[in-house]
């Protein structure tokens, strides 16, 4: 008996220690590689990166000003399509949704959320790039919005559902119509959560590369209108990283750091909004 207990205790200790090792391995791997990115990116980053155009291979210097602006344009187009669609669709699911239609919409939104990003790229190529006879920021922005809609939709629905029914009943009892109740009482109450969902959606699409490869393509110069191929940070990182040029690698590190910084800042901001919301509700 004591022998058996000793063995059980030993197994207990070994296995518990092993789980600790697993945590250490996973967490340290993740942080080592990101630390390497920050270190390398910081060394490569200079003011030119934000102000100059990319130079042809072989010349040192230059920057990615057009890619930063291009990313901003793409994200703006995607948000202009994705945020209203996600928000209004989410309102339908939470406030009006019938059983069958609600299920259908929810199910397809999950389906769309799971579609590999490269397949979204193909789809947008067939419906936008081919009819418009050319790569453009419109196509890229549309592709990104498709990745954003399901996130915004489900976030809006979840947070609207978290609003107590008594709030709706109070507004209706005061004679407000249903639409008025939703837009002036329920949606503002869920504001923080919905904003969080939207910020997370924007952060996710800002780093997407695959849907842009054959929708907005790339551009070494300024795109004069959204009808032209447009450079973006993620695609620039991709093309520069797989190129054989030393100076392009340096640029890729710098771009990686800038992109990572923006995405993580958006995520931390979203989390701050959500935890402050929770604290406010806790009172």
């Amino acid at each position: 008996m004591t022998h058996r207990n000793r063995r059980r205790n030993l197994v207990n200790r070994i296995m518990l220690a092993l789980t600790g090792v697993c945590t250490a391995v996973t967490v340290s791997t993740l942080f080592l590689i990101l630390g390497y990115l920050v270190w390398n990116g910081w060394r490569s980053l200079d003011w030119n990166f934000f102000t100059k155009l990319p130079l042809p291979p072989g010349e040192t210097g230059g920057g990615m000003a057009n890619a930063i602006a291009g990313s901003a344009v793409l994200v703006a187009i995607a948000s202009a399509i994705g945020i209203p669609t996600g928000f209004l669709g989410g309102i339908y699911l939470a406030e009006f949704g019938g059983k069958t239609l609600g299920f259908l919409v929810r199910y397809t939104a999950d389906l769309l959320n799971g579609v590999p990003s490269i397949v979204i790229g193909i789809f947008v190529w067939t419906v936008v790039v081919v009819p418009m006879h050319g790569f453009s920021a419109w196509a890229g922005g549309f592709a990104l919005s498709l990745m954003m809609i399901p996130i915004g939709l489900r976030a809006t629905e979840q947070f609207l559902r978290a609003i107590p029914n008594s709030l709706r009943e109070a507004a209706l009892a005061l004679g407000a119509s249903k639409a008025r109740t939703i837009f002036t009482v329920v949606a503002p109450a869920a504001r923080q959560g919905i904003m969080t969902g939207m910020i997370l959606g924007v952060a996710r699409i800002a780093g997407e590369t695959a849907p842009l490869l054959f929708t907005s393509l790339n551009n070494q110069f300024w795109a004069s209108s959204p009808n032209q191929p447009t450079a973006s940070l993620p695609v620039m990182i991709f093309t520069h990283a797989i190129s054989p040029y030393e100076d392009w690698h340096r640029q890729a590190w710098a771009a990686g750091l800038v992109l990572l910084g923006m995405v993580l800042a958006a995520n931390v901001a979203a989390r701050l909004v959500i935890s402050r919301g929770a604290a406010a509700q806790r009172g």
Partner: protein
């Protein structure tokens, strides 16, 4: 008298028109939101249709041979899917083999053993890492993982395990192994965070009962808590798998781009997503692009299947947690952060914790439980 009779209908009339306007406003809001919700359905339906239509040329040419035959040669217009399906499955399975034991181990540590503050801090950081764009993982893989594998990892594997067919051939650095490793690193956050949520959803009484019966901490975790959370953990694994299958950029950058089937993990290969990313813009003629679109269709169907299974498992776990009658937790937060990861993944948390569905969620669960009783 006459004047009052003349005045009387007018307020009711005004009230009715006011009510009408209210109702028509509601109807308009209903229709507008419905239109936006249905646009999601429409887009998804169009996506499937477009993939089907645009792969017609390739389907007409190769039929079922597309899936099973083996040589890919754009010059002679021979297009097949097998090497790419093989590469996709092999890298994903490799990633899971590495990520599942480590990830689930870490989840057990974070949910059962670690002090809450450390666990919450770690989980917060890990979930943050889920947001790192895949192209950044690819960048890191090219410049760190590939040289390390080429100079140290692969020669070491060859000298120790070289007698196995999986570890033979030249060490290029790029190949199935590099892709599998970077995918494993990318799916850590998913597996850890969702497994931890499922483990935490197990009622505390279960743990306490096992410990009171004399089980060691590990026995309580492994034999009592784990079976409870089994489906949720499986769900997290399937989600990781779905992500690994559809992952494009990081894999494209380290897979080596060789459309062949190799047993050796050190050999360069190709995945479905990678071949589309590399060759789609330069595909000419009718059949070549169609073949790539058809590959996209195959990938789409594969991912949908895996995702559906994952959703089903997570839903089943949630249902069971409700059925055992877990007391609804109405307090918020308790120092732990809600998991925006689940928002990003677009699915419900394995249980109703967190600010997003507190009162309403538990109310809903109670009502559903009541409904079930009344039906019986």
């Amino acid at each position: 008298m006459a004047s009052s009779a003349a005045v009387a209908p007018s307020p009711t009339g005004r009230a009715r028109s006011f009510l009408d306007r209210l109702q028509s406003g509601d109807r308009a809001a209903h229709l507008i939101t419905l239109a936006f919700a249905l646009s999601v359905v429409l887009i998804t339906a169009m996506l499937v249709c477009e993939l089907w239509i645009h792969s017609a040329d390739s389907r007409a040419k190769s039929g079922f041979g597309f899936i099973v035959s083996r040589s890919w040669n754009p010059v002679t217009e021979e297009f097949v899917a097998l090497p790419f399906i093989y590469g996709t499955l092999l890298t994903s399975v490799l990633a899971l083999t590495i990520a599942v034991p480590l990830g689930v181990g870490a989840a057990i540590f974070l949910s059962e053993l670690a002090p809450p503050k450390i666990a919450d801090g770690c989980t917060f950081l890990i979930e943050l890492l889920a947001a790192v764009p895949s192209v950044i993982f690819g960048l890191l893989a090219i410049f760190t993982l590939v040289p390390l594998l080429r100079d140290y990892g692969e020669p070491f594997l060859k000298s120790t395990l070289g007698f196995l067919p999986f570890f033979q051939g030249d060490a290029y650095g790029v190949g199935y192994l590099a892709a599998g490793l970077i995918l494993a690193i990318m799916i850590f956050p998913f597996i850890i965070s969702i497994s931890r949520e499922s483990l935490r959803a197990v009622p505390r009484e279960q743990r306490e009962a096992a410990l009171a019966l004399g089980a060691t901490e590990w026995e309580a975790t492994w034999q009592v808590v784990m079976p409870h959370a089994r489906l949720g953990i499986l769900g997290s694994i399937f989600l990781g798998l779905a992500r690994a299958l559809g992952e494009t950029m990081a894999v494209t950058m380290v897979i080596g781009n060789d459309p062949g089937i190799h047993a050796s993990l050190l050999a360069p290969g190709y995945t479905i997503a990678a071949v589309i990313a590399n060759e789609f813009t330069e595909a000419t003629g009718n059949v070549y692009p169609a073949a790539l679109v058809e590959l996209g269709l195959v990938l789409f169907l594969l991912t949908m299947l895996i995702n559906a299974l994952a959703q089903l498992m997570i839903t089943l776990t949630t249902e069971r947690t409700h059925r055992v009658g877990r007391a609804p937790r109405l307090t918020l937060g308790s120092g732990s952060l809600p998991a925006p990861l689940s928002v990003e993944l677009g699915q419900p948390l394995p249980h109703g914790r967190g600010s997003e569905r507190n009162a309403r969620g538990s109310e809903w669960a109670l009502r559903r439980a009541a409904g079930r009783e009344s039906r019986q």
